[in-house]
């Protein structure tokens, strides 16, 4: 079944035209993935794969229809399904396709595992486990220890003559050590990605500290607390609420930012940037083939733009912000952030901790998929961290929740750290520095 993908894409485009489609587009993804997990020095899980997928979008009477396949053998069926789907669409919103364009040069992302053999990666994974076990006598085992790497190719071809192809790679290592003291059992987690994916010492040290930092944890009494949101926790909250910056969500009335463009939605200390060319994961064009554009989404607290694809841009009478996104090769084109981050400020983390005075340092949230509501903008999340009194670290905290609205929290930001950190690599990258929050509602016992 191996065949020339580009040639097959061209055949499909011609077939769609012949069947009467006004336009058509083929999106192809090809991925190679590798992952290894080690426990007690031996390989516990090992997985390798090669995959490809093809998505067809057709335009019939001004409407888009989609079909997707992993078995590239029945072009007629694919075109028919896509055309049927286009005819089922009733929305009259125009969704144009991109034509050919000049793309910016983007630097290659560093990849510490590039060129490393499977054997070397397995060795690296073993070394990561050993490093984690060596960091504290309280750590006698790890629950999870992995090294993973992948390469992907993403191509779009359409009847306007667009031929856009890009490649990217990700690599990472992560470890979850278990610390035990008496009856108490706590785990920690840390990862290193891409250029740092070989930093097993740093990864192991951080993960073990995370586990040890939870020993002796207990709740605090419910009330209003000053909060220092550590960079990684802040980045995960930003990721969970990033959907509200989508023009698609706003136009559909499914975002609390509806009608807020040009208005203050956060403290003036907050600037949120979406930069597809940021070195954390640079890309020349988005999933529709629009050349990458860097922009401030929130500029000193003011919502300056939403994230657009070609469809939402057309509807709003603006230009696409190069945020066209596809969940898979066959998903209807939506909106997704690229490298989306809160711009770092000036303050050292330790200085923020001092400024916190008495309050909570929050280091991790749980249950993001359930506790965050992107339509209302509200959240109520289980979290953990440390209790700080007069700038001094007192003890570990868990079994508490923090509640509020995302923009409400951003409005309460009193200081922004310089310690920006990005989350685990994925389709989009989310980053934030640590944020000092005036007041937030905490529940406990």
């Amino acid at each position: 079944m191996k065949r020339d993908m580009k040639a097959y894409a061209k055949e499909l485009l011609a077939l769609a035209k012949a069947k009467g489609c006004a336009g058509a587009e083929v999106c192809i993804t090809e991925n190679d993935e590798f992952s290894v997990g080690v426990l007690k020095g031996s390989v516990e899980e090992y997985s390798v794969s090669g995959s490809f997928a093809l998505g067809l979008r057709v335009q019939v009477e001004g409407r888009n229809g989609y079909a997707y396949t992993e078995a590239m053998e029945d072009g007629e069926r694919l075109v028919r399904e896509a055309m049927d789907n286009a005819r089922s669409v009733a929305s009259t919103d125009e969704h144009p396709m991109a034509g050919p364009a000049e793309y910016p040069e983007v630097p290659a992302k560093p990849n510490a595992l590039e060129g490393m053999s499977a054997g070397d990666r397995i060795e690296l994974c073993r070394a990561l486990e050993r490093a984690a076990l060596s960091k504290s006598p309280l750590v006698k085992r790890v629950a999870l220890c992995r090294v993973a790497a992948g390469r992907g190719r993403f191509c779009i071809y359409n009847t306007l003559g667009l031929e856009a192809e890009r490649e990217d790679g990700v690599s990472c290592c992560y470890v979850e050590p278990v610390a035990e003291r008496g009856q108490e059992v706590k785990d920690g987690f840390a990862f290193r990605a891409d250029g740092e994916a070989g930093d097993i010492e740093g990864c192991a040290k951080e993960a073990v500290e995370e586990a040890l930092n939870q020993l002796g944890a207990g709740p605090v009494s419910p009330g209003k607390y000053r909060v220092l949101l550590r960079n990684d926790a802040a980045a995960s909250l930003l990721a969970a609420f990033s959907g509200m910056f989508s023009a698609d969500a706003v136009q559909k009335g499914l975002s609390p930012l509806m009608g807020k463009e040009g208005q203050a939605v956060a403290s003036h200390l907050i600037t949120i940037v979406d930069d597809p060319m940021h070195p954390v994961s640079p890309t020349p064009f988005d999933d529709e083939g629009t050349p990458s554009v860097s922009k401030a989404v929130v500029d000193k607290g003011v919502l300056s733009t939403l994230l657009h694809n070609l469809k939402t841009a057309k509807k709003a009478g603006v230009k696409s912000t190069s945020n066209g996104g596809r969940g898979s090769a066959g998903s209807p084109v939506g909106v997704r952030p690229s490298n989306f981050y809160i711009r770092p400020g000036e303050e050292e983390f330790e200085a923020l901790k001092e400024r916190l005075g008495s309050g909570l340092l929050i280091t991790d949230f749980a249950g993001m998929h359930a506790g965050v509501n992107g339509v209302s903008g509200q959240f109520s999340l289980s979290c953990k961290g440390r209790l700080i009194e007069n700038g001094q670290d007192v003890r570990a905290v868990n079994e508490i929740t923090i509640g509020g609205s995302f923009t409400g929290l951003l409005a309460q930001v009193e200081a922004v750290g310089k310690d920006i950190r990005f989350s685990m690599p994925g389709g989009s990258c989310f980053g934030s520095p640590s944020l000092l929050i005036k007041e937030a509602a905490i529940s406990g016992k």
């Binding site: 191996k2 899980e45 997707y68 359930a370 929740t401 509602a441």
Partner: protein, 461 residues
Amino acid sequence: MISEATAQRALEEAMRAGGDFAELYMEDGESHSIAMLQGVVENAAYSRRHGAGIRILKGSQSAYAYTVDTSEEALLETARAAGAIISGEGGRTQPFSVYRDVRQAPAQPFSGVENARRIALLMEGTKAAQSVSPEISRVSAGYFDTDKEVLICNSEGLWARDRRYRTRLSFDAVASDGSENQTGGERPAYGMGYEAYERIDAAEAGRTAANTAVTMLHAPECPAGHVPVVIDGGFGGVILHEACVHSLEATSVARGNSEFCGRLGQQIASPIVTAVDDGTLPGEWGSIRIDDEGTPSRRNVLIENGILKSYLVDRLGARLMNHPMTGSARRQGYEYAPTSRMTNTFFAPGRDDEEEMIRTMGEGLYAARMGGGSVNPLTGEFNFSVLEGYWVKDGRIFSPVRGAALIGRGAEVLMRIDRIGRRMWMGHGMCGSRSGSVPTNVGQPRIRVSAMTVGGKGGSL
């Protein structure tokens, strides 16, 4: 699907590396989805998924490789890729001798259904939701169906086939007073063909979604604290799913990463608690005829009168735990090696009066509709969100409350269940874990927990 001869050669190639067990999983299927907003179809999509995965076990080691190219040449290459890290003497591959073909055709296959009929269902639910209140500002609706054939064969001579089909509707309503939004959702789902819509009432689902949104729009913030909590039946069973059964999966237990390790035969829950995972319920969303290792599905009593009776165990887990397999191996698709997962998981009905448990609770939270949650099996710390909650004072429902979350530790909360009602029903969800996202049911009668931490924005009532 591939021939027996091709499968045999792929398994032999996999066993050549030196494993003691090899398995081939292949799937080929299609799905349809439609998205509607405010009664207007926004998108429609068709997907064909096709691929195979080969797994080799050697003792406690597992190697997995997958491919979308299912030609014999590609399968042999995939077998070699998985075998790359296995070393030893090549094991024997038994000829196929155990034939387990459990394929059944749905009464109404999806391929014969016009999009117009699917759209009519979405429209019906949307209109019903919109008619609940003028405050309903948006209704999104979604339709999904899937029908796939799977082949599972292994080096011990098993040749198993199944056909799996499911369908689901979703309605999400937004209620707005102009300045703020609240949401409600409902997602009825069955493991059936299109005949599922003889059971699913789209209008009722739409109304349910809208009612929650409107109720929450007028609800004050939930107070925070440690109080008694009554959780209603149906999707309320997510508490069992998160707080307990994830920690009974071999995925956690086999490697010592669960608070319930080594507790078989011991009391881990209040004596009124009996908990079951049953994949055999006909037509249910979480049901499977055979699991993804080809083992027949079954009813597993996990907890009986508070005593831990069984874990959920897949083949690898069985090796590590010296525990029989429970027909619980599942995976999202060929991209994942299977592991122990839930099917339809529920608290069995008890003997308590549903009204009495609220009347005698004093002050606390009545969680009428639950959202999703998560758990860390190692520590047992869980969390979940409450979609529709009511504050109870002096045993009477005092006010709806929004923004509530429930957190705690599994072992603690199981011991604190002091009431279990008589009528059990189930809700439908998607469960994410190591082997991807799989459809599961959760269920329970109305229950009461004597004390739980309720989180929110700290409202006062």
